[in-house]
């Protein structure tokens, strides 16, 4: 390819612009990826802080220092900040950084839209934080005490902070829909010559499916919260029984989004695992085609089983049976993925650097969370477990390993590529062990609490639950504080460290490892030829 094919923009911007303009006006996928990741890191600490307040309150029975509404507002905020602020942007950050480099494209397909989809996020986060702050001021109305599911009729009665939250959800939705469109267009149109859909890296596949899920379900949530807004202010009765509406309809709309959302959170991390495990087992990924098939199956079945979150609303026997069978069916393709990972490790020459430690941890702990998920899918059992701490334990065992640890694995795996420096392996291992041990101490006892009957989202609890709550709270402090170490490692790696080679891990495969570490500001301006 000759230089004459360079567009006007590319010819004039070989160097990164300086100062704040570089970030605010950025159309560079690497810079936007960095912005996404930094934003996610900040949100991780905000969400983590609210979680630690929750656990401090639950350290002892009785009401310590949070009043019930404030407690429930923290629960709401913790969920929304972690899901929409930390995990989804972090996954989008990985996608921005890695997808163009992996498929040999010079940038994302729609660079200006990429800028927009990131810069909507700080605005959304401000709205989200305002929804928490506003009730502290006179005339600010009541706190959002509904939990992240914002079920009416309670959410119709909440004060103006709910309006901030609704608009925050709109903005977050716009951001992720735009990012998803961008990713799909990039993956479908900008692969290097010779790279087919069935030979592109697995991380790209997972993001392709994730992005499709996002554009299918996020607009439905946006519609649902818009109806809620109308019910609150414009006299409609979508969910208000007084006017002929149905509050259960909101639950259906919410979980039509909410259940695929868990696969949106999970799949990018499965993509990271599909790179980390082969790299440190020195073997290619076992069963590429079956991985793709399993993922498509998970996404398809995952779209039509949402009502397993609502068994207790009084559906007919036929309906709950359908949702139960559908839900249990999902464990088959997910199990296939887990077996593929195990088969990849089988007889490989494995080493256990930090990304691999996280990967192995995920395979173990995510499977555990999946098993408690099968328990919850069983209708008669769920009638007992519903809204208990068992559910809390279950979804933290799926989401922490399944989503967050996968992102940690990805960050440690690609940090040398991004910064050009190797991170401190010893500190990385210390981080892994404190993190994983803290996590298990926090959430394992919550299974027992739930089975013994402790409800979730309630500030106080019966004396008989004290011991396990004390253990859980101590674990939460270890777990929460361990993330300061992550912050330190990341800053230290950005500032210096052992120089990373192009192929930072000798077992790593893929186009991104052919580039320098750190890569030039513009890479793959000449598309590589795939044999």
């Amino acid at each position: 390819m000759s230089t004459t094919t360079l567009t006007h923009d590319e010819a004039h911007h070989h160097e990164a612009p300086k100062g704040w303009r570089r970030w605010l006006f950025s159309t560079n996928h690497k810079d936007i990826g960095t912005l996404y990741l930094l934003f996610a890191l900040i949100m991780l600490f905000l969400g983590g802080a609210s979680a630690m307040l929750i656990r401090m309150e639950l350290f002892q029975p009785g009401i310590q220092f949070l009043d019930p509404d404030l407690y429930n507002n923290l629960v709401t905020n913790h969920a929304l900040i972690m899901i929409f602020g930390a995990v989804m942007p972090a996954a989008a950050g990985l996608a921005n950084w890695m997808i163009p480099m992996m498929i040999g494209a010079p940038d994302m397909a729609l660079p200006r839209m990429n800028n927009l989809s990131f810069w909507v996020l700080p605005a959304a986060a401000t709205m989200l934080i305002l929804s928490f702050v506003v009730p502290f001021f006179p005339g600010g109305g009541t706190q959002i005490n509904t939990g992240w599911t914002i079920y009416p009729p309670l959410s119709v009665q909440v004060g103006m902070s709910m309006d901030f939250l609704i608009f925050a959800i709109h903005l977050l939705g716009i951001s992720s829909v735009l990012a998803s469109i961008n990713i799909i267009v990039t993956l479908l149109n900008m692969r290097a010559p010779g790279m087919t859909l069935m030979t592109m890296p697995m991380f790209c596949w997972t993001w392709l499916v994730t992005a499709f899920l996002l554009i299918l379900v996020v607009p439905v949530l946006a519609g649902g919260v818009t109806m809620l807004l109308f019910d609150r202010h414009f006299g409609t009765s979508f969910f208000d029984a007084a006017g002929g509406g149905d509050p259960v309809l909101f639950q259906h709309l919410f979980w039509f989004f909410g259940h695929p959302e868990v696969y949106i959170l999970l799949l990018p991390s499965i993509g990271v695992l599909s790179h980390v495990i082969p790299a440190f087992s020195r073997k290619p990924l076992f069963g590429y085609k079956s991985m793709v098939g399993a993922m498509l199956a998970v996404a398809t079945i995952g779209m039509v089983v949402w009502a397993h979150h609502q068994y207790t609303i009084g559906m007919s026997l036929g309906a709950v049976t359908y949702f139960m069978i559908g839900t249990i069916l999902i464990s088959i393709p997910v199990g296939l993925m887990v077996f593929n990972f195990i088969a990849t490790m089988w007889r490989g020459s494995m080493t256990f650097e930090t990304p691999m430690l996280f990967a192995v941890g995920i395979v173990l702990m995510f499977t555990f969370g999946g098993l408690s998920g099968v328990m919850l899918a069983v209708v008669p059992a769920d009638m007992q477990y519903h809204d208990s701490m068992f559910v809390v334990a279950h979804f933290h065992y799926v989401l922490m390993p399944g989503a967050v640890f996968g992102l940690f694995a990805g960050v440690f795996y690609w940090l040398p590529k991004w910064t050009g420096h190797m991170y401190d392996e010893k500190l990385g291992k210390i981080f892994f062990w404190t993190n994983v041990i803290g996590f298990n101490i926090t959430f394992f006892p919550q299974h027992f609490l739930g089975l013994a009957g402790m409800p979730r989202r309630i500030v106080d609890y019966n004396m008989m639950f004290t011991e396990f709550n004390v253990v859980s709270s101590i674990g939460a402090m270890i777990f929460g504080l361990s993330h300061l170490l992550l912050l330190y490692i990341v800053i230290k790696t950005i500032r210096g460290g052992k120089k990373a080679e192009s192929r930072a891990w000798e077992g790593a495969k893929g186009l991104e490892w052919e580039l320098d570490s750190p890569p030039a500001f513009h890479t793959w301006t000449v598309a590589p030829q795939i044999k």
Binding site: M190, I215, L216, P219, G223, L249, G314, M315, G318
Partner: protein, 201 residues
């Protein structure tokens, strides 16, 4: 080479437009769910608990008083924030024999200085017990009006059916007092079948 670049550009545009179309469609789908959901429930009876024919029907006691059986009945009260009343049960728990008629009183107090009309909506938990709890005389049958700062007792006469399934030995009768606006015959939520209210969540 230039042809390929334009073609690639056109492809990107087409994919982007197509995906934007999907987003708009799915946003519309959320709103289409409103009529579709009602239709779906009517046709399939999926939301059947609130539509079962037994709902609202009271199973009359088939035998006399069952002296050998005790059932615990608890009384629970809620007042909607729009209604400036205090409302509570005089007796919170009582043990009753199925087939026998009992009377309990509730206390109502209008905290405001103006005349306010309200209506109580009853519900029974567990919902399976609903048909076996008959209210022979209840303040919830009519709307209730209290003048400013008036206090009053509201009586309830009830009987638990002798046909109450054996596994149920305790039930809770819960009243939600709602405010009636001027010119309304019944409170906003009075159309709800009793099960919706009886079914937590």
């Amino acid at each position: 080479m230039n042809d390929r670049a334009t073609e690639n550009h056109r492809n990107k545009r087409r994919t982007t437009l197509l995906l934007s179309g999907v987003v708009v469609l799915m946003f519309g789908f959320g709103f289409a769910m409103v009529p579709l959901y009602n239709l779906f429930c009517q046709v399939t009876g999926t939301q059947s608990l609130s539509q079962r024919s037994t709902i609202g029907q009271i199973v009359p006691s088939s035998g006399g008083v069952d002296e050998n059986r005790w059932v615990t009945v608890k009384f629970d009260t809620t007042v909607n924030p729009n209604l400036p009343w205090d409302f509570s049960a005089v007796t919170h728990t009582m043990r009753v024999h199925p087939g026998k008629t009992y009377e309990v009183n509730f206390l109502a107090h209008n905290r405001s200085h103006s005349t306010v009309t309200g209506q109580a909506i009853p519900s029974v938990a567990p919902w399976q017990a609903t048909p076996y709890f008959s209210k022979l005389e209840c303040f919830c049958f009519n709307k209730q009006t209290l003048t400013g700062t008036q206090r009053t007792e509201m009586p309830l006469r009830f009987m638990v059916s002798t046909d109450l399934p054996e596994e149920i030995n305790s039930m809770t009768l819960s009243y939600s007092f709602m405010r009636l606006k001027e010119g309304e015959d019944k409170p906003a939520d009075a159309d709800l079948p009793p099960l919706i209210a009886a079914n937590p969540e």
